[in-house]
Structures are given as C-alpha cells and as structure tokens.
C-alpha cells in the first residue's frame, strides 16, 4: 500500500472566525504502482489533500500511512518521506531561485546528501526527461518562458527519484504541445519505472486518457472513487459538482440518441474514432 488515509480531517485556522474545514473525514487507499487522478471543483480540497501525502500538512484528525510508515509517529522521518514522495506544486515555477537551471534542479538531490557525480547524473537525467537541452543548463531559470520554467521545476522533483510522484495541475496554463509532452513523460515514468503517480487536473480529457482510477473531491469529501468508466457514468452528479465528463462521451451519447448504435462508455477521442468507424463499417 502506498498511501492510506483513515478518517482524515483537516481544518484551517481552527478556533478563529476564519475556520475552514478543507477535508472532512477522508478515507482513501492508493496502491503501489497505481496511477490515480484527482478531480474536483475549485476549492474542493485537492491541494490540501495532496499536501498530506508527504507530511507538509498535518491532519487535524485521523491517521495517514505512507509507504508503511505512520506519519504522526515520532520516529517516522519526514525528511525521508519527502524524498520518497515527490510533490510538484501548483505553479511550481514560482519556487525557482538558483542562478542556473542546473543548480536549481540539483537542489533536491543535494539536500538528500548524494555524491557530486550522482547529483550531476540525476540532474541530467531529469532535465532530459522534461526536454530541456544541455545547452540551456547554464542559463538563469528566470530567462525562460513560463512553460520552460514549469519543466525545470518538475525536473527539480524528478531528480529526487521519488517512489510516489504527486503533481498538482502540472499542465495548467501550458500550450497543447507542452501539455502533451509533459503528460507523455509522466505516463512513461509510470510505465517504465512503475512508480505510483497521483495527478490533480481540471482536464477531464487528460484524466480519462491516463489514469487507472479517479477520486472525485467535493466540498472536502470524496464524492466518487473508481475506475474512469464507472466515475464518468455519473455525468449528472459530476455536472452538479461543477465538473463534467470528457467531451467525447457527450458526442457518443448524442450519436446514440440520433440512432447510431455506438457504445457510450468511451473515454478518449481515439477510442471514439475507432468505435464510430467500426459501427459505420458494419452498417455498410
């Protein structure tokens, strides 16, 4: 088991008039090697949830177990947990600070106390993964475009080689090509290294395409939890929460209503195209 939440509640500014229950009695299990998507309306508690994964936030109530270690135990080293659970924050480009890209990515591995050679190897590998070329290494991170900064920031976490990778809206504000590149990279990491990935996203399309399981957050609670097909079946519920199903599902539904006998359990455009083509062939 990678991550286990038992009755976790988080209250911000407890005991003041600004008190806010951000998580309310959350119970979730995430298995090793799983690719989990978290969706939810703005303010539903997604970012709060994932900051519990590596002990940056402590639950007001309940227990969290990460990679077999209880986080509120005294002898659990949070430093170790933070190396194993790599967390890429929303807008991670705002955390860059070093003089050069190379040094910035090296910050994490250096804090782990690795040898100089190992740090260098990891930085190169991580920057390569996100598509930053060698001739950029000595540039200042502040000269980069927003999307490039984002990649450097993600590399900064990848260089720590986490066992669990958590990404909070890694593609918000990127162009379609940059988005695809980053997502493909994440998918590859998941497939080749078998690491557990948890992805927060507002894009139903991305989620549908990538993940094994979806957790839907609503007002601090888990509203739905299951495989993409079964979660997106609840279109009406999702819409009430300010979410939606992937566009292609709506198209398939409309086609069905118009009399074309297609399956409506289709999540990606590719699957949809195949389905329509095969039905049309049959009709001929």
């Amino acid at each position: 088991m990678a991550i286990k939440f038992e009755k976790v509640t988080h209250v911000y500014s407890k005991g003041t008039p600004f008190e806010k229950i951000a998580l309310n009695n959350i119970n979730i299990h995430i298995k090793k090697g799983e690719f989990v998507g978290i969706i939810g309306h703005t303010g539903s508690g997604k970012s709060t949830l994932i900051q519990h994964f590596n002990g940056l936030l402590k639950p007001t109530e309940g227990t969290i177990t990460v990679l077999g270690k209880k986080l509120n135990d005294k002898d659990t080293s949070l430093k170790e947990i933070r190396q194993k659970v790599g967390l890429v924050f929303q807008y991670p480009e705002h955390q860059l600070f070093e003089m050069t890209i190379f040094k910035d990515v090296a910050f994490g591995p250096q804090n782990m106390g690795l040898s100089k050679e190992e740090v260098e190897a990891r930085v190169k590998e991580a920057l390569d993964m996100v598509g930053i070329k060698e001739d950029m290494y000595e540039k200042s991170p502040f000269e980069l475009s927003g999307g490039q900064k984002r990649r450097v920031a993600i590399a900064g976490v990848l260089a720590m080689k986490p066992e669990i990778l958590v990404l909070d809206e890694p593609t918000a504000g990127l162009d379609p090509k940059g988005r695809d590149e980053i997502l493909t990279q994440i998918q590859r990491l998941h497939k080749t290294l078998g690491i557990t990935v948890i992805l927060v996203s507002h894009s139903m399309e991305d989620i549908a395409k990538l993940v094994d399981r979806i957790i839907v957050m609503h007002k601090g609670k888990v509203a739905l939890n299951g495989a993409p097909v079964s979660v997106f079946e609840h279109v009406e519920e999702l819409e009430k929460m300010g979410l939606a199903a992937p566009q292609i599902m709506y198209i398939m539904k409309a086609l069905k209503e118009k009399g074309l006998d297609v399956s409506t359990n289709i999540l990606t455009v590719e699957e949809g195209a195949k389905e329509i083509a095969s039905i049309l062939k049959k009709q001929k």
């Binding site: 003041t16 008039p17 940056l56 933070r82 924050f89 705002h94 955390q95 860059l96 600070f97 900064g156």
Partner: protein
C-alpha cells in the same frame, strides 16, 4: 503555519464597537494612548483596565483571540520590564549583588511600564480588530483631508496603506507556499547553526522577492488599465457618517481623559 499570525487582524463580528465610525475609533484610540501616558499610578491603570474590559466585552472579540496578539510582543515587555527593574535608582534597596541592585522603585516602575505597554497594545489592537482595513484607511484619509492644503497627500497615503495592508496576508500565504515547496525538495529551515540557517533562507527569499515585485508590477498595471488617477473627484460607495452613537463614544472618551487628568494631578 504563517497564516496563523493574527496581530491586529480584523475580526468580523456584529458589535457596537464594530459599527462605530472609523474616524471616531481612530481618534479615540489616539486619545486613549495619550491618556495612558497621563496616567502614572495604579489607580489610573485600575480604572483603565475596567474601561478596556468593558470595551472588549462590547466588541464581542474573544479575550483569547486578543491575548494571542500579546504573545508576539511578550519578549519586548520582558526586556523593558527587566531594564526598568535593574536601571531605576532608588532608596529602598531590596537586593544587591556586585553593583547590580534591585530597588522598590525599580519594581514599581517596571510594573507600571509593563502595564502601560500591554494596555497600549490591547488598545490599538481593539481598533484594528474591530475595523476592517478598508474602513481604517477611509478613516485616515478623511482625517487627513483637511491637511491637504498644507501639502499632505491624504488620498495617496491612504491608498498606500490599503495596498500595504492588503499585501500582508498575500505575502504570508506566498511565504507559506514557497516554504512548503522547498521543504518538499528537502530544504530544512529549522536546524543548523546561524550561518546554515541564514543560507537556508535563500531558496525562500529569492522567489518571495521575485513574486513581490511581480505582484506590485501587475497591480500597478491593473490600476492603470482601470484608469486609476488618484483621489480627485472620486466618490465613495460607503460614505462615512457620524451618528448618535459616535457622539456618545466621543463623550465617553472625553470623560475618561478627564478622569485620567484628575487622578494624576489631585
């Protein structure tokens, strides 16, 4: 972490004190502070504490919340207290060791000073706890307005204060976020000697400054885009009006001042 700092943060509630005109509250607080320096004995401070107690009760701000602000300046109170105890010369020597003496007079002044400081903080935090930043700056602008003729830029001063006040929580939030992001990369802000700790602040301060400048620039641009051009001929959505309760409040603070003067000089 950082969001929990509450010194002087507005505490929304529906109380008589909250509803007073902000100008009245600002001036009353000012007078109250002067009164604190007029009073110089324990009878005066006894009456002051009753007066403060009634106001806190009326303001509906929990005592606990108000005292939380005091914690932050506890060290300052201790230092002034200690300085007074050891530095005040006097005849009633209570304790003496190698030239360091504690006198009865010293203890007395230290007590008075500490009380004065505590009352000062509580008095001024009642103002900020019961007045929203917008009302506060509106009030200051309105008080400064008559001085425009002698060249005091009332509107600009008020605008600068509004922006500064508005930015405090934003910067605290940003600090919190960047700190967490760097901690996720293994940064350690808590352990090590002074040099190591100062060094460990670099990954926090650099992004923080950059974001502060970026925000300032964005704000300036947004203000320009909405044709901001200073206070000339601007009208307000909420006009400040003096009502009966404000007159009553002014009368009460005047009576309080009178009592303080009487106690001191009689």
């Amino acid at each position: 972490m950082f969001r929990d700092i509450t010194i002087g943060q507005y505490y929304p509630a529906n109380s008589l004190i909250h509803k007073l005109d902000s100008r009245v509250k600002i001036i009353a607080t000012f007078i109250f502070i002067i009164d604190l320096f007029i009073a110089n004995n324990y009878i005066g401070y006894g009456i002051t504490s009753i007066f403060l107690g009634i106001i806190i009760f009326l303001s509906k701000v929990p005592i606990k919340y108000m005292l939380k602000g005091l914690k932050a300046i506890f060290v300052i109170i201790l230092i002034t207290g200690a300085l007074n105890i050891f530095m005040t010369p006097g005849e009633h020597v209570l304790w003496s060791y190698k030239g360091i003496t504690i006198t009865g007079e010293g203890l007395y002044t230290a007590g008075l000073m500490a009380t004065r400081l505590i009352f000062l903080i509580i008095g001024s935090s009642i103002l900020t706890l019961t007045t929203s930043p917008i009302q506060l700056t509106d009030g200051i602008e309105s008080i400064l307005n008559p001085f425009k003729k002698i060249g005091i830029p009332a509107h600009e001063v008020a605008m600068m204060m509004t922006i500064a006040l508005r930015f405090i929580p934003i910067l605290l939030e940003e600090t919190d976020k960047i700190m967490k992001a760097q901690m996720a990369r293994g940064a350690d802000f808590e352990s090590g000697g002074i040099i190591k700790r100062a060094k460990s602040l670099i990954p926090l301060l650099v992004p923080l400054f950059i974001s502060a400048f970026r925000r300032a620039e964005e704000l300036a641009m947004a203000m320009e885009a909405r044709c901001y051009r200073g206070g000339e001929n601007r009208t307000r959505m909420k006009q400040l009006v003096i009502e009966n309760k404000d007159y009553i409040a002014m009368t009460i603070i005047a009576i309080f001042t009178l009592i303080m003067i009487l106690i001191r000089f009689i």
